[in-house]
Amino acid sequence: MKAGSNKYTTSEKKPTAIGMILRQASVPLMFIIICAFCIPIAGLSPSYLANEIVTRMGRNSFLILSLLIPIMAGMGLNFGMTLGAMAGEIGLILVSDWQIVGIPGMVLAAIISIPISILLGIFCGKILNKAKGREMITSYIMSFFINGIYQLVVLYLMGSVIPIKHSSIKLPRGYGIRNTVSLLRMRQKLDNLIAINVSGIKIPVMTFIIIGILCLFIIWFRKTKLGQDMRAVGQDMEVARDAGIDVERTRIISIVMSTVLAGIGMIIYLQNMGNIATYSSHSQIGMFCIAALLVGGASVDRASIGNVFLGVILFHTMFIVAPRAGAYITGDSMIGEYFRVFVSYAVITVALVMYETNKRRAKSESSRELRAQQDADEARAAGKGNV
């Protein structure tokens, strides 16, 4: 009270409910404002914009959904999915060499990718179990390491050890894969399987059905014993262990599920793009997915399906309109390109800082309560004294 130096004095008011909601939704709100500002400047036609957003939703949602399960298991925003993405690419490269096209090609690529994803997932999970609490940075660095192995396989082993027949995807020197592998005969085969046109907007119904099935799976999975165990492990590993839950195994399973889903997600993503950038498709995918999820309002320890879709819409709207708006304002289209990369990193940084601040705030909350309690005690004592 008298202690002026005390930083926990009454000037700090208890945050109101509205304040809490605003703070939690601050990242999505910021993006809504950016989009609302950029859309008119970009001057794109509404149908073009809607078309683009729907396409990108189909392209990216599955990948982003693969992030949800590790978050549930308390492993945070995880770059383990990058490993799955590489597995998916390997599947697609092999399938296109075997000239299996269309939907059967995609299914076969997925089947090839799954065992690779599982192996990489187990490896990743074991390492992350040794780096509890530092999963994000560990998995990020590990994705670089596995990228090295991926390059070894694709650049040297394919064509020399792993038979690659077709020269269209092989480097002229006789082994190694070209920079770009065309998926022309697979391109948007899934999207076009059942596609309807609603007032000029193409809706890839089949892709959305698959995404919908994954959403239903995740909702169902939360209700299973394994899902419940993951939530328990995610919130308090020690308590979960005391209750007899195998914490390490549960965490590994969550990463494996994430890599397997990411492998399939990558196949969906690439069939929409129509080609594989052999050495770079996967390199930024983890970061863009994480950024999109955070833009949708997720945090390090909490993410929902709603966050995924809101995130895809907002993040990609910005992606579409920012270069145009940038070009209009500055006359240089590069500024928009620069802006999208810059924003992805910024969003991740902001989300991490906010996570830490919220934790600290919760701590100072308990100090405040203690203080209030003491004041109340004293007031009561004083009241008694007067009577």
């Binding site: 930083k7 299973t224 005391d242 309690q373 003491q374």
Partner: protein
Amino acid sequence: MDNNHAPLLEMRNIKKDFFGNQVLEDINLKLEAGEVLGLVGENGAGKSTLMKILFGATDISETGGYGGEIYLNGEKVSFKTPFEAIEAGIGMVHQEFSLIPGFEATENILLNREPKRSNLIAEVFGERLDTLDRKEMDERAAKAIEKMGVSIDQHMLINSMPVGHKQFTEIARELSKDQLRLLILDEPTAVLTEREAEALLESIRGMSARGITVIFITHRLQEILSVCDKVAVMRDGILVQEVPASETNVDEITRWMVGRSIEGGASKTDVRIDENARTILKIDKLWVDMPGETVRNVSLEVKEGEILGIGGLAGQGKLGIPNGIMGLYAAGGSVVFDGKEIPLNNPRKCLDSSFAFVSEDRRGVGLLLDESLEWNVAFPAMQVQNRFLKNYLGGLVKWRDEKAIREVTEKYIDELKIKCTSSKQNARELSGGNQQKVCLAKAFALEPKVLFVSEPTRGIDVGAKALVLDALKKFNRESGVTVVMISSELEELRSTADRIAIVSGGKISGILPATSSVEDLGMLMLRGVI
């Protein structure tokens, strides 16, 4: 009762030592079904160790197991893990909550024992993909809560519950296990309000009526008397008394608990209480948010040149006082030193005002474990007071004065009899007692006006204890430094301090001269315990 009848629990000649340090000796205990035993004793008396042995805690088997035998329903048992103990029908509610914060009470009560329903996917991928049977979960949790006899909202999330309800959730979890026959409650009422504690006692009576045996550990002796059939008092690893609760009273139990030295009667010759001494440190309405050692509304005056002892049971807040003043945990209130207000939550300001602190967390806060003794001793003085530095270019460049550092380190090695190979040895390589001496040397080297020493003898052997305490006393008497010493050991406070303040329930429950009897201090310790 016929002679063939085996008691529910029998412990015979239980012994336990940690690396030669005997903590339990020849404990014999018998409990019938439905009996309620109150287990009391000071901190470190061996209660927790005994319960850990019974519950199969892994740190018992990791430190070489225990001696003696345990019989459950006449059958010899020896649990390697808590899971085996749970399987055999023993439940334990620990002092620290073991609950998932974002789960409902129901989910916590049935954690990892959820009723499940199989489905097609689970048939293929294994039973962990069974879905949870929410309805059945609700029913079972409700039944456990009903058994407890205290009503809590089973759908409330743990982190929005008051502390008492968390405690009840834990108890309900144990009660939901059908095989439960013996329930250990480790200070369950410590976090409860009076009303809730009353409800808990009622529920213990209910459990007992259902044939569940309860071992109830608490410092609130009144509760023991009102609910227990039997009282067992432990002191220094020995079961000193076991009597029916109806035949004893609070005073008697207190005497048994603390009474080790009534015969020895540590004769105090060197106690100085100078009524006219000036108040050098005035603490007013201090609160400290230190987890597990919360301080509420402490006002205290420390006189110049005295050794003020602060005692109390673990968790009552005595450790929070120095940690709060020194700015290691969030604190409020006012601290006035020598007429000047000391800002809280700012360790540097405290050090600048000539305070020094020897932390109870020796390895975490106290020492630079991988640095030499020289560094450890001189580092704070170098940082805070710019000592042991040579200035060049008018103070622009500061160089460590290695010679002065070695001299001061060797002086303290000599004075405190620190066993080491040289002043260059790393602190990590020293034994606990010698590390503690280095911590003291570090604080002495700061030449403080007020020295806070927290648990100076924790985890060190008897010989080293005496040396550390002597060194403290000598430092106080010879340099006139005011010392505030916090310790859980009453005996230690009585032999070293001039006055002893007892903290209980986060507040000062009384201040007595160090010559007071152990019983008087013990009474203060147990008064207002929360």
